[in-house]
Symmetry: none
Subunit: 221 residues, 4 copies
DNA sequence: CATGAATGAGTGTTCATTCAT
DNA sequence: AATGAATGAACACTCATTCAT
């Protein structure tokens, strides 16, 4: 009954917060990290400062996060989870839509995820040390969910289409363009135009004349 | 170095190397950074170690780089420059090629830049604190050079095409897919397939029926 | 630390000690600085050594002093405070004394403050970078307290005497002569003689025939 | 005949500059030190920066100064020399003056020396590490020259007066008050008043009833 | 003699982490 | 559970000094 520290899987996990207060503490900590990152860049994030901004003691930070990276990993996971959730919802909502509708939905979901808080997403992606498998984890999750979305519209796409290849292509495009549309559009490109063109590119690709004539890449030097 | 604080005396700018010896030193330093990053990750980069690996004294490091970040910035610039150069060369080489040829060339150039040294590019892109304008700088440069490449094949594309929009779309796609192709292909997607499909997507988009029928995005919830 | 440069994140202010332990730490640190200064000169003072001599970790030093200078500033303040206290005590103790008694008392207080630990005072005054207002702060404090002492014996001094002028003159004399008496007497001048003569000079000045005949400065070239 | 480095006394002396160019270099270096000290404080003085500001190479600095301290020592010596010269001149000029005239002259000489460039003198005195014998050297020189000045007016002072004691007292007073008058007068004390009062104090002391009645110091607690 | 590239011991400072209270 | 004082390895960076050119 003496409640000692209980490691769950063994994998650097501390006691899950059971109490209401505990959840609040955890959230305060993660919010503090985000606040600092947004205001001063990731370089300004250090555990003591996080504790201060969160209004808790440094000891409490270590009560819930075994080390500094754990906070970033938690944040990263949250972000992945959110995108996952957004796209899953889109898949459901677009059950009756055309392929275009689905792609639009997915694209918008991504833009939302990024645009809601550009500075934050930017940081999550470009500054957080998502070492070692962070990046892959995101890519894998995205690939999976995009594959799911495409599978739902398989009827509208050419027979021979390899879903994995398509998900790879569309996943990368949607991520890059949503990111780009939300955060670094060149002058004169509105977000609506970016969206329309992005979707056109993806749909065009997916509807493409399947096993069309070979590409004429080889005619160059 | 948490808060904003003021330094004491003098120069924030280090001399540009004038003598032959000096150039060698600078190169040795940058190479050392790359070596460490590739072997042990960016976390293992510290100025003293850089000096050691470069075979110069720590003083020499600071003779040419005002601070640690400066080394990364220099590397970042180098990388941008290299991609710029590669694509410019492609533009020239594909002067007589079709649109497909050009896009293939650009894509391959990007893959080359990334694949030659995946760990390194990955780090340059995802780990280096390219605060504040680093990322934009790359995006801007890429946009510019892609625009140039497309302009060279304007004849093969629909009349109404807005070059800036097209460059934005193609630039993002080529970067994301080349990156993805070089570094995180899902099982079963070969690099050749990735290339072919990527090019197909871009060319399809560019040749697309221009101002074709409106997309049916709005048929969803 | 040559040029003006900006620091990154957070706090420039260290917490005031709250627990008992903390006060002890702060004292140990300041004492360590004094010990090192006295034994090896100010040049031997470096933060790591201070921590070592104080028997605390370097981290603890920075817990209470934002930077190296802060330790010296604290010491400087302590010294000013002590002289202030000593002279205030003298004023009280000499409440019934004559003007001579008061001046003697003040002089002795100054000598005490300096002689108790000549090397240390010397360092506090001549070596500590009491930039920017350190020096003035001392002069101002001394002026104030000397003025107080003189005011207590106003009856023994000529009517027209301007207390500020007198405090300025006496303050400078007492400081210089006490300092000199304690630390750089020429051969053949005992501390008693130095004291007697110093006091004679000050009392003579203060009792001086007030608005006596003009000084004959102007009879020179 | 191979002109090797020739140490003169053995005491850290490098070849004295013989050529015109060399003198200019030395002066440029010392001026650079002063400029830096005045503009940014002594903390900003470092040999490389001195070379830069002086417009010479760091190698040239070491051609004429064996180490960093040597520059400060040279400056210190210059300052002492100047005061010496000024007071010697005063002694001559006041050959026919009264004691008051002489004291006035000495005081003015000191004020001049300090007031000409207050920031500089202040720094020379309070910031330069006049370790180990710097301070004494100044005190000794000042004592000597003041003694000389007083000796010239011995006739106007009481018989029993010990010249060494008098020079000690007057030397300290004149230095402190001239310094104070030039650099930290309290509000409401003009430099003229400071001068008049300072001189009154010194002359009063010197003319004082010599071995007058004992001071009543001992009537205090 | 002058130059300035190179050196490297030394120092100030940070910050993740522990643990007594 | 929470607190926050304490720790100390690690690091960024400085600057007096040397020496090849």
């Amino acid at each position: 009954m003496g409640s000692k520290k209980i490691k769950k899987g063994g994998r650097n996990v501390r006691r899950e917060p059971r109490q209401w207060r505990a959840r609040q503490t955890v959230e305060a900590i993660l919010e503090a990290v985000v606040r600092i990152v947004k205001r001063e860049g990731i370089g300004a994030v250090n555990t003591n400062r996080v504790a201060e901004v969160a209004g808790v003691s440094i000891g409490s930070v270590y009560q819930y996060f075994p080390d500094k990276r754990a906070m970033f990993i938690a944040l990263h996971r949250q972000h992945i989870e959110e995108i996952d959730r957004l796209i899953h919802r889109t898949i459901v909502e677009c059950g009756q839509s055309s392929l275009e509708g689905m792609i639009c939905g997915v694209f918008d979901a991504m833009v939302d995820a990024h645009a809601k808080d550009p500075a934050y997403s930017s940081v999550i992606f470009s500054e957080i040390p998502h070492r070692p498998h962070g990046t892959e984890e995101f890519a894998v999750r995205l690939h999976g969910v995009i594959r799911l979305a495409l599978a739902a519209k398989k009827g509208e796409m050419p027979r021979g289409l390899d879903l994995d290849v398509a998900a790879f292509v569309v996943g990368n495009i949607v991520d890059a363009l949503a990111h780009g549309a939300a955060m670094r559009r060149p002058r004169g490109v509105t977000i609506e135009v970016a969206r329309e063109e992005s979707v056109r590119a993806m749909v065009g690709y997916l509807r493409g004349r399947g096993r069309g004539r070979r590409l004429a890449c080889e005619d160059r030097a």
